[in-house]
């Protein structure tokens, strides 16, 4: 019989198969590492048009989340505040807290002309996911669980992946992330009396009958 394949093809075949398997494995690893929200979203820190620092306002000055984000306990969407809220303190004609600072020029311009400040949106779910913010906050999920320690952020960064798998982790076991509703906006809350966090979670879950949906109707319509 004539020789069809030369000898080196054997080695090449073996190396090729191993190479393809390793390549696929690498590809799968690369996908599950790089292409999921845990990589692409976490750490996203867009530069905002106005250098608003939560670290200063919340961490240092101690403002409550709901002073500015007024509708988080009522609205399906958590919105950013209007320029009017900023002007409560920074109006050069009224309270005048650094009212004429050049950093606040855009806010003043927005308040005078009515043109909205074009903040860069940090947290955004895809449009096929209908997320209701108010019901989470009212049931004991704190700001920190999803948005991270905002009181330590000079610029807001995307702290948690907010992927479906990540949401389902909590929906499977909400007791790991619940706290009393009054403490939801308190970034430095620690369970009082040294009780384990999980016990408090179970307690809140029972009291408020937290039934986080695990079926498609909960978020997709």
């Amino acid at each position: 019989m004539p020789v069809i394949f030369r000898r080196s093809r054997d080695t090449q075949l073996r190396q090729g198969v191993v190479g393809i398997i390793l390549g696929l494995g690498l590809g799968v690893f690369a996908w599950y590492y790089y292409a999921l929200p845990s990589y692409t979203r976490v750490g996203y820190t867009p530069v905002q048009p106005v250098a608003f620092s939560h670290q200063l306002h919340v961490g240092q000055l101690g403002m409550d989340c709901t002073y500015c984000h007024q509708h988080v306990f009522h609205s399906p969407h958590a919105t950013v505040p209007s320029a009017q809220v900023c002007m409560n303190c920074h109006n050069p004609r009224k309270a005048n807290v650094k009212g004429n600072s050049p950093l606040l020029a855009l806010i003043r311009e927005s308040y005078e002309t009515g043109k909205p400040v074009a903040w860069k949106r940090v947290h955004k779910l895809p449009e096929y996911a209908y997320f209701n913010h108010a019901v989470h906050v009212n049931k004991g999920v704190s700001c920190v669980s999803c948005h991270g320690l905002v009181n330590e952020m000079p610029i807001v960064r995307h702290d948690q992946p907010l992927s479906m798998g990540w949401c389902l982790q909590c929906h499977h076991a909400p007791e790991e992330h619940l706290r009393p509703v009054e403490q939801v906006t308190n970034p430095s809350w620690k369970p009082e009396g040294g009780k384990p966090r999980l016990d408090i979670g179970w307690e809140i879950k029972r009291q408020l009958q937290v039934q986080a949906p695990l079926h498609c109707q909960g978020c997709h319509r």
Partner: protein, 1182 residues
């Protein structure tokens, strides 16, 4: 060296070429970066440095070979670019300052509801409009208004598309001031108006005339009175193509004064309806239908009986217990024959029918009609005092008068309410105007609303007469046929865009308030920046300016737009004040006016000037005797056919011509879309040798009409029904094709509704008529719709051991002997009705049974939602179900439109509907009854059945989906997850109800005339990068519902967005009360089974917004969440709610005798079930 990795070492082991001293490298250059995700080995790569110097643990620099450096930097750049593989930056835009009217109570994401009214001739419709972020998105009925109690019809549901219609808003002509074909600005018209007013003042208004619709409007009446007073020579005319002039003349003949008669259908046991669609689309039909339905639901003991005599099918005919098809010109004769039949029993109360007329009746009326007379007369006499005869507006005045006489003879006059007509109905009409125009007496004519050039009677030749006037000003929503003839076209603001007032059919003063500023006309192309010139004004504003109305505040005549705008608003306030009996400086007025605007109407008991009902007395019989004809006209025959004109169920009289939703709505009777046809009976079709789609030519006098034919069983022989409204091939926005035949040229003022002596000629042409009747057909021979005679129902109920209606059927110890018949799940009895035993065993969530206890809090949830081997545990405190009562469904199709608006269902166009691709989630199947199952009887009956996804508990569609996009929720809903669907369409194949719809093309995103162009090569650019749907239509979409794209299956979702919103609302309300943020009265006696929670049970769940079930779980009170179809139904045929609530309406409906599941024998266990059509026939007539 090839393959060497690591610092190149000299042969003596020293590091070669180490030039970098690690101490020179300042680590803080790295630290000033915002902390990134740490990647091992890459921590020191920062952009722009050009040099990468990884440091080992001990701080010594590793000297890298160039190749490795490149490899690492490349990998690093790739990683860094992967890190930028996220969505592009998006802005989020807040308010700059929250507007005053929103501060504190309007929340982004939650809708706000405003009360307004849709102006209609003869009686406006009170509405509640849902508004998202300042954009109205859905129209609902006003639940507190006494006239309609919350119903709307298809016209009201679709009115919101007229607001956003691209033909109106994006067409430069519709939305701009147009003078003699050229675009102008409002300032040009204002100047013209001022000069016109100057000129008219000098001649006392000589030559000025106004033509309006007959919409009642007290504010407009004030302007009219001012006009008459200021310019005494000016004229005011009103015209409607469908008007009730004969009704008024009939009451004038009978009572001596024109009155509007309204029966109270709730009190009437036996009703004879002659050629009237009182339950359909006639005046006040919503209130009538609801009152009628109350006598058809619930206990069979007070069922009424309905006899209908008509020439074509109407919705009232659908509901009839007995229906006689008779040509419309003979219906007067039928009433005379009935009077003759009753004259013995009611002597001296009825006019005497002379012998000649008697003989003529015997010859004219067909056998089927004569057979009716005896049993009908006896039935009316049996129900004396509780019966009624009602005549429709098509019949001549003498027939109405005869009916009034007959009613009072039968002691039924107290069942009718007679009200003076609104003044708009009494003004001079179009013939007077045409005559004045032709005589040259009119220089300036203002046409407000309507479309007289299209729908004026043909013999008046109104367009030619119109050209006689020197200046014609047309104020209208669209640039239509009348605008083309007139000199000026002024865009009218839609009723959702401006202030106004009107009256509902019972005379209640209603407020029209705007929900959005007049849409300014979006630029049709990026280069077109002329937007500010466009935008509509309301009729009050324009007419106030034209007539220089004195401003209510200071009395100065209005000469500018700004003062006209404020004058119109103040005028409404003034009208309200006078109607409420308050002086203009009364301190209570501001609050009262605020309440009026919020409620949307002035409650009748506070209205000082409401048109109160009167008790008229009959004129002497001798007067009516003189009005009787001496003989009847000959009945229609083959060479002298009769033609009747009817308003279209979709377009009414043509005012909704440009409304794509209404065009695509299948006509309730014929199921035609985008078209109209001549309806003929099977016998007549056979006589002429016609098949559906043949084009015929009708001849009368010098008028001709060519129209395709549609064969309708149940149509009177030798009578042809024509539907008004269509006007030839039209193109709406981007939808090509479609449009019917304009029948207005065939209509004359002598015979506006009934035309005789018509000849029919068959042409050789054929037309394509598209109906949806054959779509989604469930094969014959199955038990689909059930009709039950009332007498049989009573025996069925008693033999089955079920409680007859009216008894308590929901007590848990109800001992059902019926259950002995049902001992297996699969061998269901033919009627499919399950006893309570079956419900407990068969369905996971039994109706009204004790709900399963919730999982203890400490248990982890061990259920795997994707486990196909284990069905979804239906363990939610909500188990949704629906019952549709076929006894009261009239087939009006308002539910189809409500579903379309609420769920962003696209329009597909005529030719896609022809291919069975219509997208309506809910369809109404119309079934003719027949004895032999093949062809409908000569005298068929009709049942209409609304059908959408019935949410089977064992759904075939869930079992076949390869990607699990069709799943079952723990609440009993069959869910469709759009983002998972890949479009195999296997689920639609498997569905036995054919309730699923597939998005074959990007109907929601692309113009319908470029559906088949491959993306991205559409003419307007790439469909991938920007949505091609016109912007106003995007504003219309409901933000709570996904807008589906191509390739995805969709179906009824039980309005899951409303269910979720209700659940969120209940949970948030309960938490607010628990947290003390809100105080409400608490029910102190409540103790939940199981461990107590933080929630408190309210005393009034409906006003609190939540309730607690017996386990203490938060639930939505019954009736607080309504699906779109349920909310809109005029007769409340659809009941929806939580089956686990023993007191809910839907549980009671499910346990009613006769309830059956459609195709229940397939064991799909649907959550939507039906109540059969109950009939109350007269034993003598069957």
């Amino acid at each position: 060296m090839r393959g060497a990795i690591g610092p190149e070492r000299a042969s003596n082991g020293e590091e070669k070429g180490a030039t970098m001293n690690p101490a020179n490298y300042l680590r803080r250059e790295v630290q000033t970066e915002a902390p990134q995700q740490e990647f091992p080995g890459f921590v020191h790569i920062y952009p722009g440095s050009g040099l990468a110097e990884p440091h080992d643990e001990d701080g010594s620099a590793a000297h890298w070979h160039r190749r490795q450096f490149l490899a690492y930097s490349l990998a690093g750049t790739a990683a860094a670019s992967l890190a930028s593989c996220r969505r592009p930056d998006q802005p989020i835009l807040p308010y700059s300052a929250v507007p005053e009217d929103r501060l504190g109570h309007v929340v982004h994401g939650l809708p706000t509801f405003y009360a307004t009214t849709q102006p209609r001739p003869f009686g406006s419709l009170p509405l509640l409009v849902e508004s998202h972020d300042g954009r109205p998105t859905k129209i609902e009925g006003h639940p507190r208004h006494p006239a309609t109690s919350g119903s709307t019809d298809a016209y009201a549901q679709a009115a919101i598309l007229d607001l956003y219609s691209p033909d109106r808003v994006m067409s430069p002509r519709s939305c701009s001031v147009v003078e003699r074909g050229m675009l102008r600005h409002w300032e040009d018209f204002d100047r013209f108006a001022r000069s016109l007013a100057e000129r008219l003042r000098s001649v006392q208004g000589q030559g000025f005339a106004v033509l309006t619709e007959q919409v009642p409007s007290p504010a407009l009446r004030r302007i009219r009175d001012h006009l008459r007073q200021q310019w005494p020579q000016a004229q005011w005319y009103t015209y409607e193509p469908i008007d009730y002039a004969e009704v008024l003349r009939g009451t004038e003949l009978a009572f001596g004064q024109p009155l509007v008669p309204t029966p109270d259908l709730e009190k009437i046991d036996c009703l004879l309806v002659l050629d009237s669609d009182c339950l359909g689309i006639e005046w006040d039909s919503l209130a009538q239908a609801r009152r009628f339905a109350r006598r058809r639901q619930g206990s069979p003991h007070h069922f009424n009986r309905l006899y209908v005599v008509e020439s074509t099918w109407t919705l009232t005919g659908f509901m009839a217990d007995h229906r006689l098809r008779l040509p419309a010109s003979l219906i007067g004769g039928f009433l005379l024959a009935l009077i003759r039949e009753l004259s013995e029993a009611l002597p001296q109360k009825l006019p005497i029918i002379p012998a000649s007329l008697s003989a003529s009746l015997r010859q004219t009326l067909p056998e089927s009609a004569r057979r009716w007379l005896g049993p009908l007369a006896r039935d009316l006499l049996k129900h004396r005092g509780r019966c009624s005869v009602q005549v429709g507006y098509r019949q001549p005045a003498v027939v109405h008068a005869l009916a009034h006489v007959l009613n009072s003879a039968l002691d039924a006059a107290s069942l009718w309410e007679f009200r003076p007509p609104p003044p708009e109905m009494l003004e001079a009409g179009l013939s007077a105007l045409t005559e004045a125009l032709q005589a040259g007496r009119i220089d300036t004519l203002v046409i407000l609303g309507g479309n007289p050039v299209l729908n004026a009677p043909a013999d008046l030749q109104f367009p030619a007469a119109l050209r006689q006037a020197k200046t014609t000003i047309r104020i209208g929503l669209y640039y239509d046929q009348t605008s083309e003839v007139c000199h000026w076209h002024l865009p009218l603001a839609h009723f959702l865009e401006g202030w106004g007032d009107t009256e509902s059919s019972d005379g209640t003063l209603c407020c029209i308030q705007p929900l959005i500023e007049p849409l300014q006309g979006f630029p049709t192309s990026p280069a077109d920046q002329e937007a500010p010139a466009r935008g509509g004004r309301t009729a009050l504003e324009i007419l106030a300016l034209l007539t220089q109305f004195p401003h209510p505040r200071d009395g100065k005549p209005v000469t500018s737009y700004h003062s006209a705008r404020t004058a119109a608003y103040e005028l409404i306030r003034m009208v309200f004040a006078s109607r409420a009996g308050l002086a203009l400086d009364d301190p209570q007025l501001p609050l009262a006016f605020q309440r009026y605007k919020q409620l949307g109407f002035l409650p009748p008991e506070q209205d000082q000037q409401r048109r109160a009902s009167v008790r008229p007395t009959l004129r002497p019989l001798s007067e009516l005797q003189r009005a009787l004809p001496s003989s009847l006209p000959a009945p229609p025959q083959r060479n002298a056919l009769e033609v009747t004109f009817h308003p279209d169920y979709s377009l009414y009289d043509g005012r909704y011509l440009y409304n794509a939703w209404l065009q695509e709505l299948p006509d309730p009777v014929t199921k035609l879309v985008w078209d109209n046809a001549a309806l003929i009976s099977p016998q007549t079709a056979q006589d002429f040798g016609l098949t559906p789609g043949d084009v015929i030519r009708l001849h009368h006098d010098r008028y001709r009409l060519e129209i395709p034919v549609f064969i309708l069983p149940g149509q009177a022989d030798n009578s042809i029904a024509l539907h008004l409204g269509q006007c030839g091939e039209i193109r709406i926005a981007h939808i090509a094709g479609g449009g019917g035949t304009n029948v207005f040229p065939f209509r004359t003022s002598q015979a506006r509704y009934i035309l005789t002596q018509v000849r029919l000629e068959k042409t050789t042409r054929r037309a394509t008529l598209v109906t949806t009747q054959e779509h989604g057909v469930i094969p014959q021979g199955r038990d689909i719709v059930r009709e039950v005679d009332l007498s049989k129902l009573r025996s069925l109920a008693s033999s089955a051991g079920h409680a007859a209606e009216g008894e308590d059927n929901t007590s848990p110890d109800h001992n059902s002997s019926f259950s002995a018949h049902h001992d297996s799940l699969l061998g269901l009895p033919p009627d499919g009705h399950l006893s309570e035993e079956d419900l407990r065993r068969g369905y996971q969530a039994g109706y009204g049974q004790v709900p399963p206890p919730p999982l203890p809090a400490r248990d982890k949830q061990r259920r795997f939602p994707l486990d196909l081997a284990r069905p979804e545990r239906l363990d939610s405190p909500f188990q949704w179900g629906m019952v549709i009562d076929l006894s009261v469904c009239t087939g009006c199709s308002a539910c189809i439109l409500a579903c379309q608006v609420e769920n962003n269902i696209p329009v597909v166009g005529k030719y896609e509907v022809q291919r069975n691709r219509e997208m309506h989630w809910l369809r109404i199947d119309r079934y003719f009854s027949s004895a032999n199952g093949q062809v409908a009887d000569a005298e068929p009956r009709v049942i209409t059945q609304p059908l959408a996804c019935v949410h089977c508990e064992q759904a075939p569609c869930e079992q076949v989906c390869p990607v699990n996009a069709s799943v079952h929720s723990p609440e009993g809903l069959n869910l469709q997850v759009y983002n998972r669907c890949i479009g195999t369409r296997y689920c639609a194949n498997a569905c036995p109800y054919k309730a699923r719809r597939f998005n074959w093309f990007d109907y929601n995103k692309r113009p319908l005339d470029s559906l088949r162009t491959p993306t991205p090569l559409t003419p307007e650019g790439s469909a991938l990068t920007r949505p091609l749907l016109p912007e106003p239509l995007r504003m219309l979409k409901n933000p709570d519902v996904t807008v589906r794209m191509r390739g995805v299956m969709e179906k009824c979702t039980y309005c899951v967005q409303r269910l979720e919103r209700a659940k969120y609302g209940a949970k948030i309300a309960a938490t607010e009360v628990a947290q003390g943020r809100r105080t409400i009265p608490i029910d102190a006696h409540y103790r939940p089974d199981g461990p107590p929670s933080a929630y408190r049970k309210p005393q009034d769940p409906r006003s609190a917004g939540y309730d607690l079930d017996r386990w203490g779980r938060v639930i939505v009170p019954d009736g607080l969440v309504r699906t779109a179809c349920q909310a809109v139904c005029p007769t409340q045929a659809i009941t929806f709610g939580n089956l686990l609530d023993p007191q809910s309406a839907v549980t009671a409906a499910k346990l009613r005798a006769g309830e059956y599941a459609l195709l229940g024998e397939l064991n799909t266990k649907p959550r939507t079930s039906y109540l059969p059509r109950l009939r109350n026939p007269n034993p003598e007539l069957t």
